[in-house]
Symmetry: C2
Subunit: 197 residues, 2 copies
């Protein structure tokens, strides 16, 4: 009941997003009752990603190679950069299957409250990329106060590049909505009817 | 996006009880964005339980020692054995804090449908334990057809030990349960076994 290794595993599992003590216990038991079929492959997968998966030095995506597959792909349009807050947003947009440009993952939003300034985001890299032939920057930030403030800040900074067209996702993203939780259809429509800022 | 180690991790996480592709992706990202604080302790905890946690050779509980802490404890009543289907049931009963006997984890139920016979459960060990001074066997199996069929089978087998008192969990309206939402069988049983206040 109160042995260390098992209680420690349950405690760590319970802290994962969406889980709690009950689901943590349930998953721990599931794994321990299936050491060969479930625990050992998952344990190996953990060690595998820990060693192999890294942030792409160009865009901030997570991948086993850097630059990531999207940055390295010659078939993706280098004239479009879609700016997102998190890797989960990049994945959500990729699932729509309608965007063929590149991405830039900020790694968060500006937040006076949480003390996150421009230097805490992947912004320098973004501005450096915009120098080299980019024609459109799509602001695909969350429709939250912080997401929109961050989009506003970036738009201001990019006004130094009048040749760059700045667009944002169409209305259709609900107020306060987080991209990762939207259904793929809504997200696809919002992307396709993006507008000039 | 489609790299192996990360997609493999997401696939394995998605198969855990209560999780799906969305929560699997969310947890994978959470871990990869926190390699030091989240991924590496959880990975270590996995390896730790894989090596250390075993089924108790006496009762079937999972613990870092065998016999487990409950079996080894001199302060727990050896004259009472509470029979449960799974370790999760043992844990649920322990959380009530009102039982101070020993346990026996069957590791499932008899099931003609799934082809599980007596030899697939931890039954031999149970009958062996009953030989040695046990006064009460509490059948704490699930109130399902298979759970009750299994309890019936065990009760039959234990009729060879007339000195052993066989009990089962009380059936009735759960605390906080609204009659309108109870299944008819539970309500009927609760009515039939009504008690004087
Ligand atoms: Zn990249
Ligand atoms: Zn034990």
């Amino acid at each position: 009941m109160t042995q260390d290794p098992l209680q420690n595993l349950i405690r760590l599992l319970s802290k994962l997003p969406g889980l709690g003590p009950r689901s943590g216990r349930r998953i721990a038991l599931h794994l321990l009752e299936r050491k060969e079929e479930a625990l050992s492959p998952l344990s190996a997968a953990f060690q595998d990603v820990a060693v192999k998966v890294k942030s792409c030095e160009t865009c901030g995506n997570l991948d086993a190679i850097s630059p990531c597959q999207i940055c390295a792909s010659p078939s993706r349009d280098v004239t479009q950069i879609c700016v997102v807050e998190a890797v989960s947003d990049l994945w959500a947009l990729e699932r729509t299957g309608v965007f063929f440009g590149k991405y830039h993952v900020l790694g968060g939003t500006l937040s006076a409250m949480d003390g996150r300034g421009p230097e805490d985001l992947r912004l320098k890299g973004l501005f450096a990329r915009v120098h080299s032939g980019v024609q459109e920057v799509i602001m695909a930030l969350n429709a939250t106060v912080e997401g929109q403030a961050t989009a506003h800040y970036i738009t201001e900074r990019l006004s130094d590049f009048p040749e760059v067209h700045i667009t944002t996702l169409a209305r259709g993203v609900p107020i306060g909505g987080e991209l990762d939780y939207l259904d793929d259809g809504t997200l696809m429509t919002a992307l396709q009817s993006r507008r000039t800022v």
